[in-house]
């Protein structure tokens, strides 16, 4: 550190701006994704419920984000005996 550094304060604001831009880009996508997962779960549940009696907590939807692709994992548990709804 030299005496001149005293007169030249650190410019930290550009770092703040860049960090925020990267972070918020990510957070906005994941907020949108969790909505997507909730919508998919509701609709999958609705389709299955049309044909089979199923408690609503037995449909689990998870989204895994990776660099190249994202995977959607859907786990549906049908309690035995399977009770079909009348058509």
């Amino acid at each position: 550190m030299t005496i001149f550094d005293f007169f030249r304060p650190t410019r930290s604001a550009p770092v703040a701006r860049d960090r925020l831009q990267i972070l918020l880009q990510h957070e906005r996508v994941s907020a949108g994704a969790s909505d997507l997962v909730a919508i998919l779960r509701e609709e999958i549940l609705a389709v299955i419920s049309r044909h089979v009696d199923i408690p609503s907590d037995k449909v689990q939807v998870k989204m895994q984000r990776d660099e190249a692709v994202s995977t959607l994992e859907v786990e549906i548990e049908l309690p035995n005996p399977i009770r079909r709804r009348a058509a």
Partner: protein, 272 residues
């Protein structure tokens, strides 16, 4: 036609209550009938900032629960006869605020006031959601600081998803109020600039409130800064912001207090 305005931020301590009081008083000075409503149940402070803490008899929860009439709970400001305060409860559980009850009170307030300014609690929980629920327009209070900007971004997302207006498919009007802004520090690259925050949050700018002693002085004496020190830089910025809310086109300047200290002179701080 009455307008319900929510003052919100996500993060605490950025100036929601100060801004609610200052904007409410500024709108009342403009000849409007104004009610400022404290939604921060359990941690009410709008009464204190408005200087009405010893006049609270009934509160928002009493009205929501039907234990008091709206007229009994509203406190008329001693300085401005068109400015009223509806305080929050300090003792009751925040779950006592029901969604239907709040909707009913807001409808009743719309009948008697031009502007209803709702002071949201911090956070993204029930209280904050109830405060924004019935709003026609939102003021997002943000400090030029990373955590405040991030939380504001989150709140903007909720305004676009969880308000009645958004659920109807209407556009939720949102404005940015940048508080505690220090133009000199921003110029030196030590604080996010107005344009940085605007670019990140992408909502229109309502006003820039400069960091100033006048704000703390006003809350010390229990008066909105727009009444306590109307000539101060933050008060002028709030008065301009209130005019913009009413649809006036007011040039955006960053007001500065006239007194410029030695350091300010040394570093060429300009009074914009």
């Amino acid at each position: 036609m009455s307008q319900v305005l929510v003052v919100t931020s996500g993060k605490g301590g950025v100036g929601k209550t100060t801004s609610t009081a200052a904007l409410g008083a500024a709108l009342a000075l403009g000849g409007n009938r104004v009610a400022v409503v404290d939604f921060d149940v359990g941690l009410r402070n709008l009464d204190l900032v408005m200087g009405a803490e010893r006049r609270v008899v009934y509160d928002l929860i009493n009205v929501v629960q039907g234990e008091a009439k709206l007229q009994q709970a509203l406190i008329r400001d001693k300085r401005l006869e068109t400015l009223y305060l509806l305080p929050a409860s300090q003792t009751r559980d925040k779950d006592a605020l029901t969604s239907e009850g709040v909707a009913r009170v807001m409808e009743e307030l719309r009948d008697s006031f031009d502007w209803i300014v709702c002071d949201s609690p911090a956070g993204i929980e029930r209280g904050a959601l109830l405060a924004m629920r019935h709003a026609d327009v939102a003021v997002v209070v943000t400090n030029p600081e990373v955590s405040s900007v991030r939380d504001s971004d989150r709140i903007i997302g909720m305004l676009d998803a969880k308000t009645e207006k958004a659920e109807r498919g209407d556009y939720m009007e949102k404005h940015l109020l940048l508080t505690r802004y220090d133009a000199a520090r921003a110029e030196r690259g030590q604080m996010l600039k107005v344009d940085d925050v605007l670019e990140i949050l992408s909502i229109p700018l309502l006003g820039i409130i400069p960091e100033s002693d006048a704000v703390l002085n006003a809350s010390n004496v229990g008066s909105p800064v727009t009444l306590a020190a109307a000539e101060s830089a933050p008060a002028r910025a709030y008065l301009d912001a209130a005019r913009r809310l009413e649809g006036d086109v007011v040039p955006m300047i960053i007001p500065a207090d006239k007194r410029v200290g030695l350091m300010g002179k040394l570093f060429g701080r300009r009074a914009a």
